[in-house]
């Protein structure tokens, strides 16, 4: 995990510290009308002109931090300044885009995304599993075909399509359902749901959070439902299900007590794999609904060459991916008694 994080940050560091990117950074930070000479002196004054490897090591905290000529500037501006000042010392640096400590900004944004994801998971997983199990318990039946069609459609629709459709349909004062409902006096707001979720970061309500949650959940749901369906259909054909049937158990008991747990083993791994994959959806959806979370921050940081913030985002992504993998393996062991840690 540490190795993966190290490799990824080296790459991100190298890309963000390419000379044109640094010149752009200097112009956005100081003045857009600076001459080339002024840019060079700004970079030198802020320590950006030294070899990349040394600066990366400083960021990491394995070589002493850089100081300006007057003893100020650089990563740690406290008094007295510590000798090392990098990630290993817990200092994630300064965000040039948001003018604040990276750790504070990222903490807020991660918390916001966490709230969003919590609601997504709460909606998506039960819906997907129900869909999959209902479809899979009687393979080939009408209910199976109907539900499978729904699942394939939602998965095949990317977030930037479903998000826009949802906004047009439910959150526009001109189109979709909202004008109709307002005319009928059924809602006292101009729109059924809010298309901009900026306010949801501070005070989430059903009104402002429903659309981003629905957008992410819809896209992720179909895939999990398909996996659950396949797994459920396979389990329902197993001899031990026949045993349960010929024991005289009612169909409901067969599904709930005998099939369910076995059918969840395969989708569980998929659900956990879904977490990092959902980051994609998070980036698109958060930008679409201007929700100030992790994905939105990542896009902002990338657009403004915010070196420290981007690096921190990369580390977070790596940790997230690997942590979910670990949880998925442990959960797999728990669900499947044939694999036990001795």
């Amino acid at each position: 995990m540490a190795l993966a994080a190290l490799a990824l940050t080296v790459i991100v560091f190298a890309l963000t510290n390419l000379q044109p990117n640094l010149e752009k950074l200097a112009r956005t930070q100081a003045s857009t009308r600076m001459s080339d000479a002024e840019v060079a002196s700004w970079l030198a004054r802020n320590g950006y002109d030294r070899p990349m490897l040394i600066r990366y090591s400083e960021w990491l905290g394995v070589v002493p931090a850089w100081r300006g000529e007057d003893g100020t500037g650089g990563r740690c501006n406290t008094d007295p300044a510590p000798r090392f000042c990098g990630v290993l010392q817990g200092n994630w640096g300064w965000s040039t885009r948001f003018q604040g400590e990276v750790s504070a900004i990222l903490g807020d944004r991660l918390a916001a995304t966490g709230r969003l994801m919590f609601w997504v998971m709460l909606v998506m997983i039960p819906a997907a599993l129900t869909l999959g199990i209902l479809a899979g318990m009687r393979e080939g039946s009408r209910i199976d075909r109907a539900l499978s069609t729904v699942a394939i459609t939602t998965t095949a629709t990317p977030e930037y399509v479903s998000g826009v459709l949802l906004i047009a349909l439910l959150a526009s004062t001109q189109a979709g359902l909202s004008p109709l409902l307002t005319d009928l006096g059924l809602i006292d707001r101009p729109t059924l749901f809010l298309g901009n979720a900026r306010s949801a970061a501070t005070e989430p309500t059903f009104w402002n959070l429903a659309l981003p949650v629905a957008t992410i959940a819809l896209a992720g749901m179909g895939y999990i439902a398909r996996m659950t369906r396949a797994s459920m259909a396979e389990v329902m054909a197993q001899p031990y299900i026949r045993t349960a049937r010929l024991k005289g158990l009612p169909f409901r008991d067969i599904v709930l007590r005998h099939a369910l747990r076995n059918a969840l083993i395969a989708p569980f791994t998929v659900i956990m794999l879904q977490f990092p994959w959902l980051l994609n959806g998070v980036v698109i959806t958060e930008v679409l609904f201007s929700y100030p979370g992790f994905g939105w921050t990542l896009v902002e940081a990338a657009g403004n060459n915010d070196i420290d913030l981007l690096l921190a985002c990369s580390v977070v992504a790596v940790v997230l991916v690997l942590a979910t993998q670990l949880i998925s393996d442990l959960g797999y062991v728990w669900l499947n008694p044939r694999i036990r840690v001795r």
Partner: protein, 686 residues
């Protein structure tokens, strides 16, 4: 009043617009407390009958005619709710694969308790108490541990006992057993058969016992019904049918199975020619007609043959039953004398194979070591048949893999003509060595490439071993090989899926002999085949061996088959050789106690055959933790005859008898030599 009455039942399966008749015009009655046997080969419809009784044919299956009455109620007319009340409570079922028929993610206790909880509304607590009592009934040790266990934590024999306990939880009046011991080892099977007989005495449960094993039916049932191609062909009491069979198929089946009884073992097997017809390609008139030695054209195929009474309740579906001379023996006669064995060709010295297993969640651990083969020493002579017998986990397949180089030895030596080959994996062996040592595998379907024609696969073997001068020559040799394994030459262009199981195995044999192999290792070559086909393939294998003078190392769990064809026999247990010697010597006293138990556990189909019965306690120990001392001491029924703790502490020496017969046992020589035979001569019968 009969408990179960099946009247002219017909069942069809619907697949892609095709209607496949699985069972036609099948009738059967079972009285309360009676044990009925249902015998037949794969695809004859016997399992379909069982599922038809249970009304569980799936979405594709349909009863097209006839009815099933249980306790005077028509099962097809019942509502799903009433049907559920019968399933598990009045009719219960035991299945072939115990592991597959238990829920892997549910504790055994919960699966057992479910039955009375569903049917009788028993509280969970009381249901578990009943489950615990039932476990004692099926003789499982430590019931509390087992109630909390998951199925995979138990052995195959224990799992089947659980399935039986589960079937008996609500004290049903009919128990359907679908090949309940087929997946189990023979010593474990003997225990299950004993248990079933005991439970029947105790509870008076009627049984429908489905099996392909005639010996097992003789051991367990009062009456039987023989099925062929979806029909009942002969029915009657076990005594009648076994002594005076009146259908050519039943008789053919009897003559095709190898016998363990001394006098019978030397008789040649008589295979039933051909294959069973596919359900949609059944001939007009008698289904067995095309394979029947007594068939009369324009009579047997003129009309549908009804079930004809012989002497009620004995009945046969043969219109010539009173014309055929049932005692006439087929011309095949005695087994031809075997060519004398020649020089030593293969010498195995102190061979060992250990596997390291166990990699946990957090990387590999210095884990358990599976001792698959322990200190094996024996020789194989040119032209002989050496049979290796033993139950699952005894290391016989590992030994086969070592011989052909699919695995390399941990220590010891394999000498082929005096050259060491044990350290060479097959890809590193010289071409001549690979050509000399060929293998026939258990499952022919898995070892033929499904996308390449049969002829091409044989030709490929010839190319690899540089046989034949040109492509044309190799093609001609391929056709010769097909002749040799008695397959039509036209089969060269066919794909494996167009062949039946027996035909595929013939291709496997042709391929093994293509290189001009001097030693052929056959790992259970016929155990995946039906009995009638088994005989034909076995006969082919021995004929080819005799003609080519090849050495055959024949690995099998079937003692009767081994007795039938082996010159020498080697008995293995937990990776050790426990007994080795000429076949006659191994199958008669003195015995190793394990050989003795194995012989006593084989269900004999011979009427009147006397057999001492020894049922071993417990299961085969795990090869990761083999017991110290003698590997067999944990189950040995003669341990008490050895003084002190010798068996538990010291690996027994090989005690040598005449003709190279050796037994690895601590028993006193006097006790060994004083043993009585296990199987007495059968008194009469066909």
């Amino acid at each position: 009043m009969p408990l179960l009455e099946i009247e002219n039942l017909s069942i069809s399966f619907q697949t892609r617009g095709l209607t496949i008749p699985a069972v036609t015009d099948f009738s059967l009655t079972i009285m309360p407390g009676e044990a009925m046997g249902l015998v037949g080969e794969s695809g004859c419809g016997k399992s379909t009958v069982a599922l038809g009784i249970m009304q569980d044919l799936g979405p594709a299956g349909r009863v097209t005619a006839g009815r099933v009455r249980f306790d005077a109620r028509d099962l097809a007319a019942l509502s799903p709710r009433d049907l559920r009340a019968i399933r598990g409570r009045e009719i219960a079922m035991v299945y072939q694969e115990p592991m597959a028929s238990l829920n892997p993610a549910m504790r055994v206790g919960a699966q057992l308790a479910e039955v009375p909880m569903t049917h009788e509304g028993t509280s969970r607590r009381e249901a578990l108490a009943r489950a615990r009592a039932m476990l004692a009934d099926v003789h499982l040790p430590d019931p509390d541990r087992i109630l909390r266990a998951y199925p995979h934590e138990l052995s195959g024999g224990q799992q089947q006992r659980i399935v039986i306990a589960m079937a008996l939880m609500s004290n049903p009046s009919l128990l359907i057993l679908d090949e309940p011991t087929t997946a189990l080892d023979v010593t474990v099977e003997a225990g299950i058969v004993d248990l079933l007989r005991e439970l029947r005495r105790k509870h008076g449960t009627a049984m429908l016992f489905i099996s392909h094993n005639l010996g097992l039916i003789r051991d367990t049932c009062d009456r039987l019904c023989v099925m062929y191609a979806g029909e009942a062909v002969e029915t009657g009491t076990v005594a009648e049918v076994f002594t005076a069979m009146r259908h050519p198929y039943t008789q053919g089946l009897f003559r095709a199975i190898p016998r363990l009884a001394a006098r019978r073992a030397t008789e040649a097997l008589v295979p039933i020619p051909g294959n069973a017809p596919l359900p949609q390609e059944r001939p007009p008139g008698c289904n067995f007609g095309p394979r029947c030695p007594h068939v009369v054209p324009r009579r047997c195929d003129a009309q549908k043959i009804p079930m004809l009474p012989v002497a009620p309740p004995h009945a046969s579906r043969c219109i010539r039953w009173d014309e055929i001379d049932w005692s006439a023996r087929p011309p095949a006669g005695e087994i031809q004398p075997h060519a004398p064995s020649g020089e030593t060709i293969l010498r195995i010295e102190d061979l060992r194979k250990y596997y390291e297993t166990g990699s946990g969640l957090f990387g590999p651990r210095a884990g358990a070591i599976v001792k698959a083969n322990e200190s094996l020493t024996f020789t194989v002579r040119q032209g002989e048949t050496l049979a290796i017998v033993g139950e699952s986990g005894c290391g016989k397949s590992t030994l086969a893999k070592l011989l052909v180089g699919l695995e390399t030895a941990t220590s010891g030596r394999i000498l082929l003509d005096g050259h060491e080959v044990q350290h060479l994996p097959v890809e590193a062996r010289p071409r001549a060595v690979v050509a000399d040592l060929q293998m026939i595998f258990q499952n022919p379907a898995d070892t033929l490439n499904p996308a390449i024609s049969v002829g091409r696969q044989i030709t490929r073997a010839l190319e690899v071993f540089r046989q034949g001068a040109s492509d044309a020559d190799r093609r001609a040799r391929t056709l010769d090989l097909l002749d040799l394994v008695q397959l039509p030459r036209a089969f060269a262009a066919r794909l494996p899926r167009q062949l039946s199981g027996g035909q595929k195995q013939r291709v496997g044999i042709a391929r093994a002999f293509a290189s001009g192999a001097r030693i052929v290792v056959a790992d259970e070559p016929v155990s995946a085949l039906d009995v009638s086909v088994q005989a034909a393939v076995t006969k082919l294998l021995t004929d080819m061996q005799r003609e080519t003078g090849t050495t055959l190392i024949f690995i099998s769990h079937d003692l009767a088959l081994v007795r039938h064809l082996a010159d020498r026999v080697m008995v293995m247990y937990l990776g050790h050789i426990v007994e080795i010697g000429p076949a006659e010597a191994v199958f008669s006293p003195p015995f190793h106690p394990y050989t003795e138990a194995l012989l006593s556990a084989v269900p004999l189909p011979d009427p009147g055959a006397g057999q001492r019965r020894i049922v071993l306690e417990g299961d085969i120990p795990s090869a990761t933790h083999p017991p110290p001392g003698c590997p067999f001491h944990t189950r040995c029924h003669r341990k008490a005859q050895v003084p002190g703790t010798l068996c538990e502490t010291v690996l027994p020496p090989m005690q040598r008898f005449e003709n190279g017969h050796a037994i690895c046992c601590h028993l006193d020589r006097g006790i060994l030599e004083g043993m009585a035979p296990v199987i007495a001569e059968p008194s009469s019968g066909q």
